[in-house]
Amino acid sequence: MSVKQEDQLKEKILNVARKNPKGISHKDITAAIPDISSAELVTAINELLQQEYFDLFNQNGALLYRLKTQVNKQAVKGADNEEKVVFNLIEEAGNKGIWIREIRIRSNLANTQLTKVLKSLESKKLIKAVKCVNASKKKVYMLYNLEPDRSISGGAWYQDQDFESEFVDILNVQCLRFLNQRSDKIKNNPRGPIVGRTQSYATASEVQKYITDLGISKVQLDVEDVITILNTLVYDGKAESSVYPDGSKVYRSIDPLIPAPGLVQVPCGVCPLVHKCSTTGLITPQECTYMTEWLE
């Protein structure tokens, strides 16, 4: 059998495999390519396995060949054994990533060598290093095409490991605006206060829809994300939350129980030096500049 024939055969087998991403068995191959002898098949498959086109599985006693993904194949190309080992470790870790120490222990490679390997893999854009949000010094490695897990990236609120407080603030304001639009419904509602209260409530998914429609967020926000924002409103004392009978959380905006009390209306209530102020000395109420300004 010539080399050309062999290549054709391999190509055919690969085509079959591509059509069945879940894997193919011997039967599938013989069904798809009827004019093949088992000896030819064995040599072809062996060669393919050697070139690491396939992963070999054992399913219910029958052998199953599954095509490896494209990236994997590329990674293998021109890579030495160390790189392969490291790559596999990183691949296993999935989108949670793997810490460099972990790689070193499991691969049994020396530190310098490992750094070199990682660098070369990174330069080939096969893997990437992601900084962990909750430990800024900790770097984890994962495959280049993977989206980091929430526990690593911190979810929608982080951009390159930095917490986007402005984004959160804007969302906070917008959510409050949405709730405020409804808050007046409870006041003197002609259909009764319970209906009024229900009308003044907004579910998290309604708020999420409103936020999405506004188009202020480039990232797609889940209901969960919106709930975190709405919770900050609750902690701001600007909203209260309740639960509907079906278990969904609802929110409505509220006013504080009392208007600003006397203590914060006088300068002393907000004065940073109030604890150093006394009858005599440098800081006294008689000479207080804050009070003078306030009295003007």
Binding site: K187, N188, I194, L263, C268, G269, P285, L295
Partner: protein, 507 residues
């Protein structure tokens, strides 16, 4: 009994009663209780002056006395809470005026000034004072009626009577149950025409019942809070519930005895013309009040269409929380207030969780948390893991809020601010004492001239002795003093909330 309280008490005494009473008051505040001899010794004042000041203090209920161990001499002590009531007088007057009209205001004002007074003297004094005032048209009859209705409503009460116990030289003041008096108009008129009180046999003394006013203030606070939270109808409903509460529970009970919904419904029906919505949806309003009313009202039974408890203690707690929220917001910003509330909601929370839930930048969040800790708004409880070797064991720091202590801190701040505001007012007055005096003199002279009917030119001449720049300065001073006294009233309102909270012991 803190240092700050001492300062504010001292300055208030100075304002209302002058230097000498202030010295005596300070001395009493510092030492708790002591006999006259000791006061004379420590203050260095003459015995006569000390006795005179003590008399003033006792008259206004600012000081109290009790027999010493040997039962022979009296020991005096200051009641600082009552000193603070002095600045609340304008509020009492406003309250009674808005509820009963100007005649009641005159009565209460006179009674506050006299401290204690018999009904005859009180009524005749006021009637004589306004005898010629045609605009107000005050007669002794209407005053008498008003006096009786005030006594019935409990705004005034009989003053305690001194009784001498056996084996003691010192009388004790025994409170008397108030009996609504039956005043004879003829006698009153006789006394008024005679112009002297010599042959009056009236020996029942009256005084203002502060507590009754405080109940009003408390109710007002609760009603306003509910109105802000839900709407006017719910506020009105709260008022009805409170009315019902007074019928079957002590006024300051932490939680009232159950109020039947039937009674409330009945009350709403009577108010149907004003609040049609409330009458229509009274059950719904009760439900909403219970669920979204900040825990002011609790459903405590289903008998006869529902039983409700008014929870004054919970209300005080909520209002103190609201006040503290405002304080934190104004002092450290809304982000800090968010952390403060977050910690309160979660009770005990770790630093990392604060950051996660408050959605703040790590660094900012930590800074604010430490700032809150520094200002004593929150507390920190380290949890060390026991029996771990080496210094590596990481302790967990749990942040939490001790509300009682935070409220205490805030109340101290209130005292401090109150002192500062009063002090500043005093300073303003002394700075411009000469000008203010001059203005007063000019006013009296002009008033006298007007009465004598002297020509306008002469009056103008006198008025022009106050130059325009002086006028401007005076206006400025007046404006500042007005602002300062408004601030005092507001601070007092704030203090009222804290003190209300402190009437209930910490759980």
């Amino acid at each position: 009994m803190s240092h700050q309280l001492g300062r504010v008490v001292s300055i208030i005494l100075h304002r209302y009663f002058g230097d000498i009473v202030q010295t005596v008051g300070d001395d009493l505040f510092k030492c708790g209780s002591k006999p006259i001899g000791m006061i004379v010794k420590t203050t260095g004042l003459s015995r006569g002056l000390v006795i005179e000041s003590l008399r003033t203090l006792l008259k206004y209920d600012i000081a109290a006395f009790e027999p010493s161990v040997n039962q022979l001499i009296a020991e005096y002590k200051l009641v600082p809470e009552n000193v603070l009531l002095l600045i609340r007088y304008p509020r009492y007057l406003l309250q009674v005026k808005s509820k009963y009209g100007s005649e009641a205001e005159l009565l209460i004002e006179e009674l506050l000034q006299q401290a204690t007074c018999t009904a005859t003297v009180l009524l005749v004094t006021i009637a004589t004072k306004y005898k010629d005032d045609k605009e107000k048209n005050i007669t002794i009859m209407s005053l008498k009626d008003m006096f009786i209705s005030l006594a019935t409503a409990g705004y005034i009460q009989q003053a305690p009577v001194a009784e001498l116990k056996e084996g003691s030289e010192i009388p004790t003041l025994v409170p008397v149950a108030t009996i609504v008096p039956d005043l004879d108009t003829r006698i009153l008129l006789q006394v008024m025409n005679a112009g002297n009180f010599n042959d009056v046999k009236d020996n029942i003394y009256w005084k203002v019942n502060y507590d009754r006013f405080h109940q009003d203030f408390r109710d007002e606070l609760m009603i306003k809070a509910i109105t802000r939270r839900i709407d006017e109808n719910a506020g009105e409903l709260m008022r009805f519930l409170l009315e019902q509460m007074y019928l079957n529970s002590p006024a300051w009970a932490p939680e009232s005895n159950p109020v039947s919904a039937l009674d409330v419904r009945d009350r709403c029906r009577r108010a149907a013309t004003d609040k049609p919505l409330l009458q229509q949806y009274v059950d719904q309003y009760l439900k909403v009040l219970e669920e979204s009313g900040g825990g002011f009202v609790r459903r405590c039974g289903d008998a006869s269409g529902g039983q409700f408890c008014v929870r004054a203690r919970a209300a005080a707690l909520q209002l103190v929380r609201a006040a503290l929220d405002h304080l934190v917001t104004e002092r450290l910003g809304s982000k800090a207030a968010r952390i403060f509330r977050l910690i309160r909601t979660k009770k005990y929370i770790e630093e990392e969780d604060i950051q996660k839930n408050a959605m703040l930048v790590n660094k900012e969040c930590k800074q604010l948390t430490y700032k809150l800790l520094e200002e004593h708004f929150i507390s920190c409880q380290p949890m060390r893991k026991a029996a771990t070797a080496g210094g590596m064991a990481k302790a967990i720091y749990l942040y939490h809020i001790k509300l009682h202590e935070v409220a205490h801190t805030a109340r101290e701040m209130c005292y401090r601010s109150l002192h500062n505001v009063s002090r500043r007012a005093l300073h303003e007055r002394t700075l411009h004492a000469r000008l203010v005096d001059k203005q007063k003199r000019v006013r009296t002279i002009v008033h006298g001239m007007r009465l004598r009917g002297e020509p306008q030119e002469n009056i103008d001449d006198v008025e022009e002795t106050l130059t325009p720049p002086e006028q401007a300065v005076l206006q400025g001073v007046e404006k500042r003093l007005k602002q300062l006294s408004t601030a005092e009233l507001e601070l007092d309102k704030n203090l009222f909330i804290f003190n209300w909270y402190f009437t209930y012991p910490e759980t």
